[in-house]
Every structure is written in C-alpha cells, then in structure tokens.
C-alpha cells in the first residue's frame, strides 16, 4: 500500500514538487529524530531515510548505521530504503530515537507477484501462487524455461521429455481432465499456448505459477490446468549494464547393458531350442548398436544482455545462441533469439513493448525410439550387408539368420532426414494512461506468429526386413500460426483510511489462426548418390494438401482486491468468456472466484515475538477448459475416401461423414477450494506455506467410448461426460540465514496429491487402455495386469496348478506349463490364463508425495547450489525390461539374465521360449517396479571474481561448474525414473522413454 503511494508519486512528479515545496516552506525545522539501522550482520551505512510523502526531507545513515533527521510536525512515518533490502516504513508516533532492522529483499513475503492484469505483494495474496526467480533457475542447463523450473515449486510436477527439443510435461496439481494437462502460458501479458521451447530461458526474470481458482480465474476458460506467468527482464535505472554468459555442457545419455554376439547366441539358441525349433544360422558380426546410435552430446549457450535506464525510460536487449548436438547421432537443435524490451514515460503516459524473435531449428533423422531401435537389432547383424544390395545395402533382419523386424538405426539416420524449424515473433505494445491518482487505463496489443516448416527426405533403401519398396520421396510443409490479442483494462486503486481497494476491469479479444500447406513428391532427382533436396526435384506422384484453422475469443474480466487495515483481505474475480469453439448456445462461460485472507500477525492481540508474519487464507472459484479442436462441434465430411472405377481404373474421390460430432459440446468446469497459511518466523528466517485444496472437474471433455457400430472413425468424438477430483496438500519451507560470512538458504517443497475419477460418463465404470485401467472411485491409469507368481520349480507345483474344481490350468494357447515356465494367477478360475479375464488392479502410477529441494550457500566469493527432486511411492511399468525380456520375438538381451534351465534351477527367471509368449506376456506384474526416486538434478559450484578493484570496466566475473542428473537414488531398473508418458491414461507406463542425459556444464558470466 505504502509502496503503491510512492509509485503514484513518481507519476505525478510536477504536482508533488509543488506540494512538497509548500510543505517545506511552511513547516521547516520541527522534530529531530535519531536512530540506527542494522541488518542481520550489523550496522548498515548508506541507508536512505526520508519522511513518507516528502522525499525531499531525508538523509542517509553514516558508517555506523546511524542517522539524524529533522522532520516537520505533520510527518507521520519515516521511510528506510536500501538497495537489496526491504523498504521499511516506521510510524514516528512521537519517538525521538528509532532502531530499524532491514531484511534482505529476497525475503519472499514482500515480493511483488504478477497475477494477471496486475501485480500484488506476495504478502497480500489470498490465492495459491508459486514464484520462481531467475536466480533459482540460472544454474541449470536448460533448453526451455520448463526445464529450469523443475523441483522449484510445490504442486508443479514437471517431467522431462528427454528427446531433443521435446517440451517437458507439466502437471499443476494433478490431472483434471483426459485431454490435456498443459497449463496456460502468459508471457509478458501475452496469452500463449506453449512454444516455451522458443523462449530464451536467460531472458526470464521471474515465473509465477497460479495454481488455484482464485489466482487463475482471471484467465477463465483456459486456466483449468493452471497458469504460468512469465515475466521477462527489463532494464533498471543506471548506466548501461552488459551481462555476457557462456555455457558449455557435455551430455551423455544412459545406455542399456546389452549382450555382445557371443552371449547373444547362447541365449538366442536356448530360446529356439527350448521351443523345439532349429537354431538360427546366425551371422557372425558383432555390432554394438548403441555405439552406432549414440554419441556424446554437446551444448553451447551464448547469451548477451544489455540493459539500463533513466527515471523515465528503460531498455533491455538480449541475444542468444543455443546449440545442442544431441546424444543421438545426427540430432541437433539450434536456436537464435533476440529480445528488446523497452518502456518510456511522459506525463500521464507510459508506453512500452516486449518483442522477441526466435529462430529454432531441429534436425532429427530417422524415426522411432533410438533405444528401441538399438536393442531390436541383434548384435550379429552388420551395419552394412551386401546381401541386401537390392534394397540399399544396409544390414537388417533376415528370416533364417537373424529374424527380427527391428530397424537399423544407422540406416534410418542416413535414409530419413527430418528437419523442422520455426521462426517465432512474439511481442506486445502497451500504453498506460494515469487518468487520475487512483485510476489508470491500459491498452495492451499483443501479436505472436510462428512460421513453421517441416522437411523430410526419404532416400531410397530399406532399413528393416520386408519394408515396402517405396521410391524416394520428399515432403515439405509450411505452416503459420498467428495470434492477435487486444485488451483494454481499467485499474482502480484507492485508500480510504484503513480501506484499500485495488480493482481491475477489462475486455479482451484474441484471434488465433493456423494455416498449413504441404507438398510431397516421389523419385527425387539424384546425382552420384546425393539427392536434390527440393520439391522441384520430384519426378513422380506430386501430391499436395493444406488446411486452415481459426478461433476467436471475446472476454470480459474483473477483479477487486479489498484490504482492511492490512488485516482482512478479500478478493473477487470473474471472467466471462465467449468462444467460437462451441455452438451459439454453448459458447458463453462465466468463471467467478472469491477469496479471503486474515493476517493474524497484524492483530493487536497477537503478541508472539518469534512469529513475524502469519496469514490464513481461503478461496473458492471455478475455471474452464476448452482445449479442443476449433470446429469439434460441427459434423463435417471427409473428401479423402477414394475408389477405382472403370476399365481404365481411374481413382475417384468421394465424400462422406467419417467422424461423428456432438453439437452440444461445452466447457469443462473445474471448481476449486483452497485453504492456506503463510508464516514467517524466527526473524523472517523461516518461511512456511501450507496449502490444502480440493478441485473437482465436471463435464470433462472425453472422447466418448461410442459404439464401433456407429461407423465412426478418426477418433471418438468428444462429449462432456466425466468428472474428476484432485485433493492435495502442498508444503513449502525456506530457511535463510547467515553465519558470519557464510550465507545459505534451504528450500523444500512437498506435494501430496490424491486423484480420483468421480464418473466416466454414459454410466461407464471403467476405461481399459492397454496396461492400465481407469475406474470410477480410483485414480486415473491404475495398472491392470495379470499377476505373476514366480515360476514352476517342481513337477509337484505343476500338478497342483489347477482351478478350485481341479481343472488343469493352461496358457491361452492351450498348453500346460513345463518346468521353468512362468506361473500366473488364474483370477477368474476358469482354467485359462488370458488377458481378457485374469487381469487385476496391480498398482498405482501416482506418487504418494513429490519433493523438490534446493540449497544455496555463499561464502565470500564461492557459491554452491543444489537442486534435487524426487517422487515416492509410485509404481512404474518398465517397458524396457518387458521388451528386452520378451523372448517370443528376437531382440538383443540384457547382460546378466539368469533364465531357468534344467541345470540352472535356482532362479525365478523363466525358461526362454522363442515364438511363444507364455513366459513373457506384456501385461503381467513382473514388469511393474517401485519407482521411488530422488535425483540430484543439478549441483553448481561457482566462484565470483570481484574485478572492480582491478579494472573499472568489468564489474564481476563468475565461473561455475554444474553437474546435472549425475546422481539418482532409486531401485528402478529402467533408464530414468523421471520419465514422461504423454498418454494421460497410461501415466505410469515407461515406454522406454528417452532418459535425461547426464551432463557437465561450465559457465562463465561477465558483467560490465
């Protein structure tokens, strides 16, 4: 509030000057006040001390932190300011001597938090908001901001996509629907749907995560998954400052411990012999397919930021070059970015802009998962094989020698060259007009465009057995995304005695559209084996296509924050959205929220010395989700079906309805209750926040499980059918202290979440999806598998393997087990082990709790930071194990397997069988593992050279080393316990996900 006043003063400098002169003239030389200013470590010199409301009456503290000031009789309060410290305002109340202790500014409670269409002091917040500062993120080797946010906020689960250029999967407070868990991004006031990859992480000043309804309701229909507000850096008053940083990192992907040819033959022959088949007439090569596939990755990140400003204007310019040579051969991502943020003031006008241009390019040859490709090729196959010269000469499976349908990854890297890229321009311009001391108007116009291209050259040749002998082809696609945002808001802010009202009302219009055009040609012209990589080089079958897509959103929004005496806080928010994505009857949605807070520590009766701040808050509100296709409610026809007619066999296009549509689609609505408490204790050194929330999503848009007999194709049409609930507790604690020259802080966040399906619509009780089942009353995606019960060690056990009626139990192929075969639980007691009847709920993919830890310490010029994250209690289906131990088909195997043989009976690893899946069903509990883990995401050690004493040009120089993903504590045997599966129903299935690379980074930072 007080800060707010001072802000307004700046905007009315002329007026103020006149006013203050008159004060000076009339009330000169009255009371004298003396005192001392300290911080935790002692007396603080250079602190500015002034009379509130009259900056002209002021002084600074001397070397001992002491001050002396004469103030007019009318003066009520003194303001103490020091860079890097919290500003303090002390009532005079007739005191002659005042002692003040200033806290470090980084104390979270007084941060200003962006909450959408405005800011608020964190201490006045009544909603659940997590704040992440650039300082916390600076040490991480991050392709995107999301990478850098990992582990730093409670209730925000970020799991790495692993593959180069893939965006991590972010879930804020669980999963609230079945279509999409991605939050809404607001970058400098511009609502954006992703594309975080294109944002230079070095430009980010702060990130705020709006987690509950009261915080996010201002974004209405798009906020159901939470909102991430990203604020980029701006120039500060002062001389031009140049920040230059260089980061180099060396990255290594984890590998599988696969067999060499000799070992492979032993077990492969065993699998054939056990199945009564003649062994393969193996090739004799010994290829390490992982060596052929993977390499050491290398990342370069150069960044320069130039900033500065005056009282009336500021500027920030940055340039970035980021290049990451992937850990999979041939893969590379390159990004150039430029940003210009400026702002200027004159009179009642403030005009500013943010503009970022990014060019992003990804080269990703081949297709499929490189891990899967490298184990599905058996080690006896050579990279090149002259036997296959008719199909290009690459090595691959052979029906009698190395029967596998694996794809040769080297051939794929050579034969299928995929490149894609985009140029994104993202920016906004705003004008703020201070209409009166309490009223301002803001117009914000945003524009974003992404010019996308995808290019794919498929050279002629085979990389797998029996591959279609397609001619070479070239695909080239061009897309363009555009978003136009236009917003008008009015801000009202006034204090009446102890009443403070802060309100915003506005109108927002956003148009988004996308156009896509592609062409494809075959028989690409080549000369001496090298292809002409343009569409003109296509010599046959040119085909082309394209589409366009558009949506509009018109919204009315408002928020009123009311604060009485810094003790009682109320907030009411609404947004009324109108979207073109629904029919006229359904397009209007209203999303209100209310919240209240009570700052107990400001009550007179509250006299607990060791508690510096205590606030209790509660809120209730609703949010929407309409993340569906732009025209999903309109049934349309497809003109793609074709058929051949006539003696000349001419292909003719037809037209028909293919995908059905529900005309009455409407918003998904999430209502959320949140109660929370913020405490600062022990001289603000320990800060705690606790949140408890219940959120319920109704009318969840789900692809209706409609009947096959409807003839629908192209995906089930959406309906508003299901409902879901998430309940959770979040705890955030920060301890910050200083012992002599040693400063340190420890932050921890813990999240516990209960996800539950309340209904699935259409009276359905469950949805079966592959390895998981989503059932009413239980969390989404519970494992649903056949229970494994070891292997048969004795004939006695086999004889006893009967149903309750004594019927011998057989595998689904009708065969009885033999010694060494896997034993499964015949759940329905029908004597046949089958996926249809014997699967049961076998575990939860949801962690009991997730934690994030960060530690920062500084001693003189040395600093250390550690970021850790973990999740505990979840089960995971180890897809890698399931594949590598699936002997029914050929692939390479893991070193160290110990299968049952008549001579090796002391094991629980079943007999190997080729062509018979009885011992390696994909849907058995054998592949389920406890995936609890804790990972040290990053450790950074830095040293800052204070060069100011040596040269006047360089302010400081920091050198740091970072180790990322080096240490993981887990029993999980897959590649990485921190994986992401984008399929919401199968959240816990690890389909041999790309693991996060281990990396070492060296960074250098120079400030002039």
């Amino acid at each position: 509030m007080i800060n707010f006043k001072s802000i307004k003063q700046k905007k009315r400098i002329t007026l103020l000057l006149i006013a203050s002169f008159s004060v000076v003239l009339t009330t000169w030389s009255q009371n004298k006040i003396t005192g001392t200013v300290k911080d935790f470590s002692g007396e603080l010199p250079g602190v500015s001390v002034s009379v509130e409301g009259n900056q002209l009456i002021g002084t600074i503290t001397d070397i001992k932190g002491e001050f002396s000031i004469s103030v007019p009789e009318t003066a009520k309060k003194l303001v103490f300011k020091f860079i890097g410290k919290e500003t303090k305002v002390i009532p005079i109340n007739g005191q002659k001597e005042i002692f003040v202790q200033l806290d470090d500014q980084s104390v979270n409670l007084n941060e200003v938090v962006a909450i959408g269409y405005g800011t608020i002091k964190k201490k006045d917040l009544t909603g659940a908001v997590s704040v992440i500062s650039s300082n916390d993120m600076k040490n991480v080797r991050a392709m995107s901001v999301a990478d850098a946010m990992q582990g730093l906020a409670s209730g925000v689960s970020i799991r790495n996509g692993g593959a180069l250029g893939s965006e991590p999967i972010i879930e804020i407070r669980g999963i609230g629907n079945f279509t999409n868990s991605a939050p809404l991004y607001v970058i400098d006031g511009l609502v954006s749907t992703g594309g975080l990859r294109d944002l230079n992480a070095n430009d980010v000043e702060s990130v705020q995560v709006l987690k509950d309804a009261s915080a996010a309701a201002i974004y209405g229909n798009r906020a159901a998954n939470g909102v991430i507000i990203i604020t980029t850096k701006r120039g500060k008053k002062g001389d031009m400052k140049v920040d230059f940083s260089v980061k180099f990192s060396v990255d290594q992907s984890p590998r599988m411990n696969l067999m060499d040819t000799t070992q492979f033959f032993k077990y492969n022959n065993m699998a054939y012999t056990n199945a009564g088949l003649p062994i393969q007439n193996h090739y004799t090569n010994n290829t390490d397919w992982q060596n052929q596939t993977f390499q050491t990755g290398f990342t370069k990140d150069y960044n320069i930021g130039i900033s500065g400003g005056t009282d009336k204007s500021n500027y920030f310019v940055s340039m970035n070059y980021f290049d990451n040579v992937g850990t999979t051969k041939g893969n590379e991502i390159t990004r150039y970015s430029l940003r210009v943020n400026t702002e200027a003031k004159r009179g009642i006008f403030t005009v500013g802009e943010n503009l970022a241009i990014t060019d992003n390019r990804v080269i990703a040859p081949g297709s499929g998962n490189p891990y899967t490709n490298s184990f599905r090729m058996t080690p006896d196959i050579a990279v090149k094989d002259s036997l296959n010269s008719a199909t290009g000469g690459w090595g691959y499976g052979n029906l009698s020698r190395a029967s596998t349908f694996g794809s040769n990854p080297v051939a794929m890297q050579n034969l299928l060259i995929n490149t894609s890229g985009n140029t994104r321009i993202r920016g906004n311009v705003y004008i703020n007009v201070q209409l009166a001391s309490f009223l301002s108007y803001k117009m914000n116009a945003g524009y974003e465009t992404s010019i996308d291209d995808t290019h794919s050259l498929r050279k002629w040749g085979s990389w797998t057995l029996n591959q279609p002998q397609d001619p070479s082809s070239l695909f080239d696609g061009r897309g363009r995304y555009q978003s136009k945002l236009f917003e008008n808001t009015l801000n009202f802010n006034k204090t009446f005695g102890k009443h403070n009202v802060d309100a915003v009302f506005g109108i927002s219009y956003q148009n988004e559209n996308y156009n896509w055009t592609w062409g494809n040609v075959q028989n690409v012209l080549q000369l001496n084996g090298s292809y002409f990589d343009v569409l003109d080089a296509g010599q046959s079958n040119p085909t082309t296509g394209g589409y366009k897509d558009e949506s509009n959103l018109i919204s009315y929004l408002g928020r009123v924050n009311y604060n009485f005496d810094n003790r009682y806080l109320f907030s009411g928010t609404f947004r009324n959205d109108n979207t073109s994505k629904f029919s006229k009857e359904q397009r209007n949605g209203f999303f209100p929220s209310i919240s209240a807070g009570w700052r107990v520590s400001n009550e007179k009766f509250f006299k607990v010395d060791w508690i510096n701040d205590l606030k209790i808050r509660a809120n209730y509100g609703s949010l929407g989700n309409a993340a569906i296709g732009n025209y999903a409610y309109v049934p349309t026809l497809s003109h793609f079906p074709m058929y051949t007619f006539g003696t000349s066999q001419t292909v003719v296009n037809g037209m028909t309805a293919v995908q059905l549509a529900n005309a009455d689609l409407h918003w998904e609505t999430k209502t959320q209750q949140n109660i929370g408490m913020d405490v600062a204790i022990l001289k603000n050194r320990l800060q705690l926040s606790v949140e408890y929330f219940i959120s319920t999503t109704k009318d969840v848009l789900v692809p209706a499980p409609i009947l096959l007999a409807t003839g629908n194709d192209g995906g089930n049409p959406l309906v508003n059918a299901a409902s879901l609930e998430n309940r959770g507790v979040e705890l955030t604690a920060t301890w910050k202290d200083k012992v002599g020259d040693f400063k340190y802080s420890i932050g921890a966040n813990i999240t516990h979440l209960d996800n539950k399906v309340l209904s699935l619509g259409y009276g359905k009780q469950e949805v079966l999806t592959g390895l998981a089942k989503t059932q009413v009353g239980l969390p989404i995606g519970m494992f649903y598998l056949i229970k494994t019960d070891g292997i048969f060690h004795t004939q006695q056990e086999i004889d006893n393997y009967v149903t309750s009626n004594g019927v011998p139990i057989v595998y689904s192929n009708g065969q009885r087990p033999q010694l060494g075969d896997a034993k499964y639980v015949d759940l329905n007691d029908d004597g046949i082990i089958s996926s249809a009847n014997d699967r049961q709920l076998a575990g939860s993919p949801w962690p009991t709790f997730e934690v994030g830890l960060n530690f920062n310490a500084q001693y003189e010029n040395l600093d250390l930071s550690v970021i850790g994250l973990g999740a505990f209690g979840q089960n995971v289906y180890n897809g890698l194990n399931a594949s590598l131990n699936y002997f029914a088909d050929n692939s390479n195997y893991l070193v160290g397997i110990n299968p049952w043989t008549p001579d090796n009976t002391n094991t629980n690893f079943p007999r190997l069988l080729y062509g018979d899946s009885r011992n390696s069903f994909g849907d058995q509990t054998r592949w389920l593992e406890d995936c609890s883990y804790f990972k040290i995401k990053a450790i950074t050690l830095g040293y800052t050279f204070k060069l100011a004493t040596l040269t006047k040009y360089i302010d400081n120089l920091r050198v740091a080393v970072t180790g990322q993903n080096l240490i993981t504590f887990t029993k999980y045997t897959g590649l990485d316990p921190e994986f992401a599966n984008g399929n919401i129903y199968e959240r816990g299935v690890d389909p041999t996900s790309y693991p996060s690379p281990k990396s070492f980074m060296l960074s250098l930072n120079v400030t002039f």
Binding site: L399, L465, Q469, L490, I507, T644, F645, Q649, L707, G711
Partner: protein
C-alpha cells in the same frame, strides 16, 4: 470537465472493442458440413464413392479379412511369429479386442454400413427435378443397398450376430442386437430392392460398379447359407439361365481371374477394385490407427505382401497353404495327362520347379526352391508381374466369380433334386472343362466318376471341386459353415486330418469369432457370442 472527457473516451473505447459478437460465428473453412451437403445427385454420388472406398480398408478387403476367410479354413494356416495373429487363425482367442483379429474387421464393416446408410437415407430425402435424376438416385441407392447387404452378410458369417444400424449414426446411439436370421433379413430385403434398380451392366467408365447380376448372386449365396435351395436357385437362375446369361461366362485362362490386366471380365460377377495410384502405405504401416481422414489414401490391396512366398523382401511369414491341396490337385490328371494347371496357378509348392522346368516366379527373381516342405499362396500373390510384393497391389479381388455361381447352381440342383445329379454335374463339368479335366462321369479316377451316381456322393465331391477351383478366394470358410462339416465327428476328423488347427475347434463356439469385447461392454443390448 477534462476528467469527464477522459472517462467518456475510455468507456467508448471499451464498448468499441466489445461490440462484435459475430466474430464468434466461425465456420470450418476446410470441409463441407453435414448440414450443407447431401443436396444434389452429385453429392449422393460422392457419398456412394466413399462407401465403395471402404472395400479397400484394412479391416475390409484391404487385408485382415483374408486372415479369417483364407487362413482359418482348412485351406490355409499361419505360423506367424506374431503369436496372437497366428492364434486367431487357430481358434485361440485370449484377447477379444484384438485389432487385427476381430475389432478392425467389425469396425470397418460398420464404417461401410454407416456410409451406405448415409447414401440410402439422404437419397430418400433428395429433391429430384427430372426423371433422369430420379433414375440416377435410384441406381445410386441400389448400389448402397447392395453394399450394406454384403456387409451384413459378411458380419453374419464371421460373428453370427451384430447390431441393427440402418440409419445414419449419431454419437450417442445404442443399437438393438440382431441375430443371424435378422441380419439375413436385412440383406435379403436390401438385395431385392437393389435388383429392381441396378443395371445389368455398366459403361466402360463405370465398370466395377455393382450390377444386377451381383445382387442376384449374393442373394443366392445368402439363401444357400440358409439351405433355402429353391430361393437360392431362383436367384442364380438370372445369371446362369435367365436374362443375365448374356453377360457372363468363363474366361479361357483360369489365371485371367487373378491378374490386373484382365479385370472386370465376363467371369467377374462382383469384383473389388484396387489401384496402385496412391502408393502411400500410410494407413498400412500403423497397426492401430486407421483413419479415413487422410489424403491420398492407399487404395490398393496388401494381400500379396502377406500371402505369398516367404522370403526376405517377399511376403511376411504370416500365411501358409495346407499341403493336402497339392495332393488333391495331383490326384487327377488332365485329358492331356498333365497336372491340373490350377495347382501351379494357386500354390507355391516344393516340387513346383521340378514339375514345371523353366518356370520362374516373382517376375523372374525366384528360380529355384529353397523353402523346405512348406507351401505358400500363389493365387493373388502378384508374382506374375512383381519382383517384390508391396502394400498397394492393383489386382482387383474377385469376390464372386461366375465359376463359383455355376458350382453353387449345381449344389442347389443336387439338393433340390437328389435324383437329377446329371444336370447338376453339367455345371461342374463346365468349370472342369476349362482346365482340361474330363467330365466327372468320365474321370479316370473311379471315386470321382462315381460322384455322379448319387447326390450324396456328388455333393461330397463338390466340396473338393469347389476348393480346387476356388481355393484362397475367401469362400471356403463360408462353405464349411454351410456344409456344417464340423457337426459330425467324422467331418471334424476330416478337417483335423487336413488342418491340425481344427483340433482346437469347439463346435459350440468356434463357428463364429468373439465380438469385440469393448462393443459388448459399451452396448448393454449386445451379448457376447455364446461360449466366449
């Protein structure tokens, strides 16, 4: 005053920005909507083309249906390393939602029914302005009705029950269950309607469309499955002895029936049209996602990639021929004392190179046998013109051939008039004559010659005659069902002797496949087939 102006300025700005709610009325610029389509005969014609298009889909005649019709019967089998795929051809069903086994077949047939329903329904609403238009609409609707009847016929054969869908679908639809008889009734009614409006033949540009003869032939086949021999014979009559005679006959060369160069010939009664115009195996590469919403869809058949000689780059190791067929062919020589030419036309068998010196396969690339004792599909393998089979064969699939109709006609006669075997035999003899076999009566093999002495012996012999002429043409499974060979221990033993997979056969359930379990779960009216 100044303030007031400011406020007015702001308020008016906000109203300016808020005015235009019309911006929200966006229409999909990419495709027509159901509401704006189906107004003209050309719209209807487009809808019909799309309905035909479904024939080429993988769950229809593009691929997987052959695994049911040609591999489950005693003519073929699968020893695929894809164990579940092979299991579905040998009566081992563990997962009732196996895409390639039952789900896709069920789905793709109902997709075609949905599309036919749109044509039939909107055809009844369309406003026609002239008699020509009216006739065009009738012809279009008649073709759609045939297709719908054909789908219900095949669903009935494969599943024995289904859901009643005869109007354009809506997402929330829940359909009544229909049994085998009801499925036949729908098909019979549709075919009787279609026969009235379908032309006997089409112009060159429209060759390949459904004809009156095709409708009669399918109607006859349905009656035969019902053992309504008189109705069946009456239906076939139009083709064999009636007005349709002019359009049908046997081709001189047996192999002309399986080549792309001799399509829609006089022997073809109903033929599915394939083309390699779009050699884009997009939908064929992915085993789970089939989407008609992609441009330049593959309109070829992938049968030859799955059913042919198994070698690197040739066919997948998924389909094999039971060797008893080779033995059966070799039993009887032609009048010029050579092997029945249909053996070499239909089967890659171990002695083929020694029996026929100098021949080559796969366009000359395969010249000797090194495939052990196994036999493979040669009919429709495209080996006459392709070195490497692919996923977009242009060879049309002859679903109903005139030779089949002749043999069916014979079967009807022999069932109707047990005493008149000789008339029935004349139709079989026509088929035998083409491949230079003697008449049945004159056969040098005594048991064949004896087949004309009684209707029982004749009908038994006809079972073999049909397989020798029509093997791998997706009729054997239907025949086995009609004959109920598995109903007697002797019959089942005969099947097991020819095809050991029949050891798994349980007559109380395996005459039909399990319905997709998801469908049963989602429709409370639909009950899973008994035994499953």
């Amino acid at each position: 005053m100044k303030k007031a102006i400011k406020y007015i300025f702001v308020v008016s700005l906000i109203f300016l920005a808020s005015c235009n709610q019309d911006l929200l009325d966006l229409t999909n610029p990419n495709v027509p909507t159901t509401a704006t389509f189906w107004k003209t005969t050309s719209d209807l014609q487009s809808g019909l083309t799309a309905t035909y298009s479904q024939f080429t889909r993988p769950g229809n005649w593009g691929r997987w249906i052959y695994f049911r019709y040609d591999l489950t019967s005693d003519e073929g089998y699968s020893k695929s390393g894809w164990v579940e795929l092979a299991d579905w051809t040998r009566f081992n069903y563990s997962n009732y939602n196996f895409i390639q086994g039952n789900s896709l077949v069920y789905k793709d047939h109902y997709k075609q029914i949905f599309e036919a329903n749109q044509v039939i329904y909107y055809g009844s609403l369309i406003k026609v302005s002239s008699a020509t238009d009216s006739a065009t609409v009738k012809k279009i609707v008649a073709q759609a009705k045939f297709i719908r009847a054909f789908d219900y016929f095949n669903l009935n054969i494969m599943f024995g029950r289904g859901e009643l869908v005869i109007n354009p679908s809506k997402p929330g639809d829940v359909y009544p269950m229909i049994n085998s008889n009801q499925m036949d009734s729908i098909a019979i009614k549709d075919l009787n309607d279609a026969i009235v409006d379908l032309p006997a033949t089409w112009s060159a540009a429209d060759k390949g469309r459904i004809t009156k003869g095709a409708a009669y032939a399918l109607l006859g086949k349905i009656y035969m499955q019902r053992h309504e021999w008189q109705n069946a014979k009456n239906s076939f009559y139009w083709l064999v002895e009636g007005d349709g005679m002019a359009y049908y006959g046997l081709m001189t060369n047996y192999t002309d029936n399986f080549l792309p160069s001799t399509e829609n010939n006089k022997e073809s009664v109903f033929e599915i049209q394939f083309s390699n115009a779009n050699p884009t195996p997009t939908d064929m590469n992915n085993n789970t996602i089939y989407d008609d919403n992609i441009p330049n869809m593959n309109v070829g058949s992938s049968r030859s990639k799955f059913m042919g000689l198994q070698d690197n780059n040739l066919a997948w190791p998924d389909a094999n021929v039971r060797p008893w067929l080779v033995t059966e062919y070799k039993k009887e020589k032609t009048v010029s004392n050579t092997n029945d030419s249909r053996l070499l036309a239909n089967i890659f068998y171990p002695a083929m190179f020694t029996d026929n010196p100098g021949i080559t396969c796969y366009n000359g690339t395969v010249t000797r046998w090194h495939y052990g004792t196994l036999c493979y599909f040669r009919k429709y393998s495209d080996d006459a013109f392709k070195a490497i089979p692919d996923y977009y064969s242009p060879t049309n699939y002859r679903v109903i051939r005139f030779a089949d109709i002749l043999l069916c006609y014979a079967e009807c006669i022999a069932n109707l008039n047990p005493s008149d075997v000789s008339t029935a035999a004349t139709y079989v003899d026509k088929v035998r004559a083409r491949v230079k076999l003697s008449t049945l009566a004159n056969s040098t093999i005594p048991e064949i010659a004896a087949s004309v002495t009684s209707s029982d012996l004749f009908l038994k012999r006809l079972q073999t005659e049909r397989t020798l002429e029509l093997c791998f043409e997706s009729v054997r499974w239907i025949d086995l069902k009609r004959w109920g060979l598995w109903n007697t221990p002797g019959g089942l033993a005969e099947l097991i002797a020819r095809d050991p997979d029949f050891a798994n056969f349980d007559v109380t359930k395996h005459t039909v496949m399990p319905l997709p379990q998801l469908e049963v779960d989602n429709n409370q009216n639909l009950k899973q087939n008994s035994g499953y």
